[in-house]
């Protein structure tokens, strides 16, 4: 078995993704069938955000990948040799 930090990081990733999945499932699939005066609606943002927030997350992810690529390419550029 993996030890120490590996186990903690791995299990916290699993837990985080389970929580995210459950919250998103209730938000997108369960809430439309629940009456609008039910208490459950208090724990969830308006439904437009269920589209906007993943959109923002995707943009941030792409920006990070792009920034990483730029940094790596910049560090490894070599000036052309002049014969």
């Amino acid at each position: 078995m993996a030890t120490g930090a590996d186990q903690v990081v791995g299990m916290s990733l699993v837990l985080f993704s389970l929580l995210l999945f459950s919250y998103y499932t209730v938000w997108v699939i369960v809430l439309p069938f629940v009456d609008s005066d039910h208490l459950l609606h208090r724990y969830f943002l308006p439904r437009e955000y269920s589209v906007i927030l993943p959109g923002i997350a995707a943009v941030v992810l792409l920006l990070c990948i792009g920034a990483f690529t730029v940094v790596v390419v910049w560090k490894n550029r070599k000036p052309k040799k002049v014969d």
Partner: protein, 92 residues
């Protein structure tokens, strides 16, 4: 039929079914809430696939066995390789 064609066929079939339900293209009078849920299906499936990938990576990180011997052997090989390359003129 190639795998690509099979995948494209499957994806377009699902896409057509989704569009017909979500945008009421055939006037099937599906109730409003069902149409709303159907409309958000592609995004929901994408998010759940992301969650599944994250969970799989996390679980495999947590359960991968430590291989002390292989780790030591790898460090040895890295040292040897660095020495070798240094002799040949590469600066690390």
């Amino acid at each position: 039929m190639t795998k690509l064609l099979q995948w494209l066929l499957g994806v377009s079939l699902l896409g057509i079914i989704w569009a017909v339900i979500a945008f009421d293209l055939l006037e099937l009078s599906v109730p409003g809430t069902y149409r709303e849920v159907a409309w958000s299906m592609p995004l929901y499936l994408l998010v759940s696939f992301g969650c599944y990938s994250l969970a799989t990576v996390g679980y495999r990180v947590a359960t991968f066995n430590d291989c002390d011997e292989a780790a030591r052997e790898l460090q040895e090989q890295i040292k040897e390789a660095k020495e070798d390359l240094r002799k040949k003129g590469l600066k690390i």
